[in-house]
Homo-oligomer: 350 residues x 3
């Protein structure tokens, strides 16, 4: 997409100094800008870059007074950082919602309804009796099974797989390769050493404003629903097992795994590669360090935890500090023993 | 799918008390039942729910005597829990095998044979000279390469990718996004710091009754086969490297990784996020705790192990218990040293 | 593919002893060879297998003198191991580049150019204004977005998803299910506990000779590029976050995760399941043990590190050795204390 500097200044309610007929098509950091880019200057520390930047336009504050010549056009606004963020968001919206209409071939089952403003990429598949809201973007090679419900303005990137009976809210984003509703991992051991599959007949329920990362997997419940509450943000390659519930506005970084029937509170923050055992609860507001192993429930709200098995963060850090000195500690103990032996041998005690 | 209560009672060899013409379409826990659901009561602890449940039907035992009025129809059987499990399994079978026939467009290569009773979802791809058994369900956007063999009754969910030359048995299940037969990770370091790719010309061999989780990856062997024996159950996002062999009826939880040429025994149980180094063997019946790092072979059968580097479970738990008290232990050592110094300084020893 | 032994001998500049009209179609280890296979004998230790192998042909050295009868045809060359490796590579090349032409249906957007010698598998998708070089192999169900650039001889296996604006060099390999260019995980916390999405407008830049494993995910930069330098080899299920840079010829094993804006040096080797925190640098030539947690930058080049938090490998091993003896160490400290108490109680000090 290309915009003139004049159009952008108008959007940001700013004034242009320079050639406002030039077009820009990308956003860039001021030190990396090339012709066709627009950048911003909000921090004096970076001022020297404005005199050498190759960007076509730079957003600056009202109080900016150039000390040398500047080749870029300037867009003068009240708060350049806010204006740039606004521009980022507008640009994202345009990118997200520029796709519209139907690319052939697609497959749509019987009894299925797709709302207005949709994008259906080529080779996308929607099963039977599925209800899809307005402005939903279904990228190429997406699979949506039977009896699925999806709210308005949800973005589903290429190759996402959504099993039958899944329920998804409004304004969600699913990144490429995510799998929603695969069978929970449930097998009953038999006497002959084999396992019998426990049927997984529940579904996945995802509320509004949820974001799911690339190649993340969320299993359906055995019965009932695996539940992702509103505002939850999940990174790439995360595993959410059957019957888990994630409380609203909780954030989970990449490669974390949450085992079956665990209940995670609201407003938690999980680092990457965390593991959570099944059938436990984690209190609201818990902050979990990367690679933590949560082996028991966490009852106190708003604590920071780390380590495996999990401890309060400060206890963990104190133990780890000694762990690093263990060879020294062992030596000290050996010397104490030797010393005491020597003293006894010297007969000082008798 | 909808069934009358009469049909279900007939299937379960039970008697109906109430309106047997009502239809039900879902299975639910008694406390969560809504109209159209069928539930069960097997444990007296839950009896109070039967008087308030909104489910249309409840399966109960012959000895159940209602204490109040019940709105649901009752299906009276010998063992309500077993009957409900039977229903779950029937329902799963119907779900799994209800899909049949060909959805256009699909791609089928030359010399390929697909047995009767198959489902071929739209945008699925089967390469050349591939042999597929009876009742195999190939969901949309599945990729099956050239010279692949797949047995009867195998279920392949949406977007699974099976590379050329893979051999798969009967009654297997592959969840969405699983990748079978990608190149083993083999690169030979060269003198200039670059790496030369070691060709990976083997395949993957998967026996009967194997289940593979969503987005799990299994690499082909360098030469010969990466082998998954009968009855193995693998969860989501697991990595199985080239030339690995997994013994029969072994269960592996999510996000575990097994490095090249490791040999895992029969009837092992792996927790999630376990790592296994390459070129080692793990004995039959080993139980591996979540997040364990198996850094050496395990020779004794039927042991429980944990930690990194791996120890017997009890040794690990004892070490971990002290780890949590390390700051205290360090303090004790410091005090012992101080005490001894003081005693020496006081001249008691001379 | 089938070749006569004569054709192979010609390729390897070798002489045949036996029937050179037989055809072979697979490569195998000498102890596993079946009719139709070709194998090799380079190490005397394996000589006894040549008298029993079922392989149709065996590559041997000029100095090999049979002690018994051999049923296989022999191809006599100067260096049998090198010849076999040459054969492996030729075979791989044939496999990789045998696919050509267009399988219908495919989707190609407007303004897109695809070079000669391409393979476009059925149900593959290429967006608008994308430039694809010569001999690029696009397997079925691949998604390539808008404004993407891909160099010559790059292999893209089934179901790979490449987001818009990605730039990819020559001779790269992408295994099935890999996702390139998904949004970085960036969310700004708001006062009401919700998160606002930070637009991710950068891209991914992948240089020449890079290999990316199955179901691996590489996020785009917030602004600018996430960069994978030439010769980097990345295994399956790896997570590379936004704005990361990986130096040339670095090798990363499966299930490793690298957080946002981390900079990894050249010629590093990462074991599996490693975690790297964001905004740090790892020096050139660092060797990282499996399951390490890199919680701080590593400045010294060519060191070996391990543990969590990360230490130099030898320090880590020394601490771990004591960790395993912690219960014993604790007991020693308790005994020292008791001993000292007893001595004091006995009044020897006064």
């Amino acid at each position: 997409m290309q915009f003139t500097i004049k159009q952008i200044a108008h959007l940001l309610n700013g004034e242009v100094k320079g050639d406002d007929s030039l077009t820009v098509s990308k956003l860039a950091k001021i030190e990396q800008g090339v012709p066709g880019d627009i950048s911003f200057l909000a921090n004096q520390k970076y001022e020297h870059f404005i005199y050498t930047t190759k960007a076509s336009a730079v957003i600056v504050g009202k109080d900016f007074v150039p000390k040398k010549e500047i080749s870029a056009a300037l867009i003068i606004v009240k708060d350049p950082y806010n204006s740039f963020t606004q521009l980022l968001e507008e640009y994202q919206k345009i990118l997200n919602f520029s796709k519209k209409g139907l690319e052939q071939p697609v497959f749509v089952g019987q009894g299925t309804e797709i709302g207005e403003g949709a994008y259906q990429g080529a080779f996308s598949y929607v099963g039977n009796n599925t209800k899809i809201g307005k402005n939903v973007k279904i990228y190429p090679q997406v699979y949506i099974g039977d009896n699925v419900t999806i709210g308005d303005n949800t973005l589903i990137y290429a190759g996402v797989k959504i099993y039958s009976n899944t329920i998804i809210g409004n304004n969600c984003v699913f990144h490429a390769g995510a799998v929603i509703g695969s069978d929970g991992f449930g097998f009953a051991p038999q006497e002959d050493g084999t396992y019998k599959t426990i049927p997984q007949l529940g579904n996945v329920l995802i509320e509004d404003n949820v974001s799911i990362g690339a190649n993340t997997t969320i299993d359906c419940a055995t019965m009932g629903s695996t539940i992702i509450r509103q505002g939850v943000k999940i990174d790439n390659l995360v595993q959410i097992a059957h019957n888990v519930e994630i409380g609203k506005n909780t954030v989970i970084a990449a490669q974390t795994g949450i085992a079956g029937s665990a209940v995670i509170g609201e407003n938690c923050v999980f680092g990457g590669q965390v593991g959570v055992v099944g059938h436990i609860s984690v209190a609201n507001g818990t902050k979990v360090g990367a690679q933590t192993g949560i082996t028991r429930g966490i009852k106190k709200e708003n604590t920071s935890v780390a380590g495996k098995p999990v401890s309060e963060l400060n206890d963990y850090l104190r133990s780890v500090a000694v762990f690093r000195k263990l060879p020294q500690l062992e030596k000290q103990v050996r010397e104490l023993e030797k010393r005491l032996e020597e003293l006894i041998a010297e007969g000082v005690f008798s």
